[in-house]
């Protein structure tokens, strides 16, 4: 069977790339993608470690709920990015620095 520590290394890589995208990218959509990567890293760990316990399914059930939350986050996030783009005509979070109307 697949060695669990290899899966752990893979999910650590997913998490690191997600954090890298959160920290460096100057585009709201890419930051959203980084968030999805981080959630997927957690999901991979949940499912991989669930394989140790053949009769308990808490990890896989938790992974289902994580996926549901990720969909909610993506839907609301894309809507907010669209509205901010209409309002400020930019998708670069650095340029959205105030809540009132741009002068």
């Amino acid at each position: 069977m697949i060695a669990t520590h290899h899966i752990f290394i893979l999910s650590a890589l997913l998490l690191s790339v997600g954090v890298f995208m959160l920290l460096t990218k100057r585009n709201a959509i890419l930051i959203l993608m980084g968030l999805e990567l981080i959630l997927n890293a957690a999901n991979l760990n949940l499912i991989a470690f669930n394989q140790r316990y053949a009769d308990a399914l808490a990890g896989e059930a938790m992974a289902v709920f994580v996926i549901v939350l990720a969909v909610c986050e993506a839907a609301v996030g894309v809507a907010i990015i669209l509205q901010a783009y209409r309002h400020y005509a930019t998708a670069v979070p650095d340029q959205i620095s105030e809540l009132k109307d741009p002068a």
């Binding site: 520590h5 998490l15 890298f20 990567l37 009769d55 990720a70 993506a74 894309v78």
Partner: protein
């Protein structure tokens, strides 16, 4: 190495290629394609871990739903005055150091705890997971459905409201 191992490392290669595309590409569409390959590779790994339901959910919800949402976002915000937008990065050095430090810390300090763990693979997990979702986790499952409905309505309202 068994056949499952070869498939696993193949999916790993696909995922690393996707992660690379997301981390360095200058075009939003290329990053989205990288995300797609990551999500499909994850679905393949879930199937290898005998979590078939999760693999199907991953393909349908992530590769089919979230990615299409993100593509809509890219198409609606991607260009400004007919000029395709190029992605800029800032603080690349600091970000790389933090991400690499996180990765190395996880591998060096947390990873050894899992060296002895081997996956056994749970037989018939589709049936047992479905039974668990509708018996033990029914309340959480229904609440997750309600949350999904609320957030989709909220997304539609936020995206469609225009200031007069």
């Amino acid at each position: 190495m068994s056949a499952a191992d070869y498939f696993f490392y193949g999916w790993c290669l696909v995922m690393v290629a996707g992660l690379w595309a997301m981390a360095v590409s200058k075009k939003l569409i290329h990053a989205a394609l990288g995300l797609l390959s990551c999500l499909v590779a994850l679905a393949g790994i879930y199937a290898l871990l005998s979590a078939e339901l999760l693999a199907v959910i991953q393909l349908m919800v992530y590769a089919g739903g979230v990615l299409v949402l993100i593509l809509f976002g890219i198409m609606l915000t991607g260009r400004l005055s007919d000029k395709p937008m190029r992605i800029e990065s800032r603080n690349v050095a600091v970000g790389s150091v933090i991400a690499a430090g996180l990765f190395i810390t996880l591998i060096v300090f947390v990873g050894p705890a899992f060296l002895s763990v081997t996956s056994t693979g749970s037989p018939g997990s589709l049936r047992t997971l479905s039974l668990a979702l509708f018996s033990e986790y029914t309340l959480a499952f229904e609440l997750a459905g309600v949350l999904l409905l609320i957030s989709l309505i909220a997304g539609a309202v936020i995206a469609s409201s225009r200031q007069s």
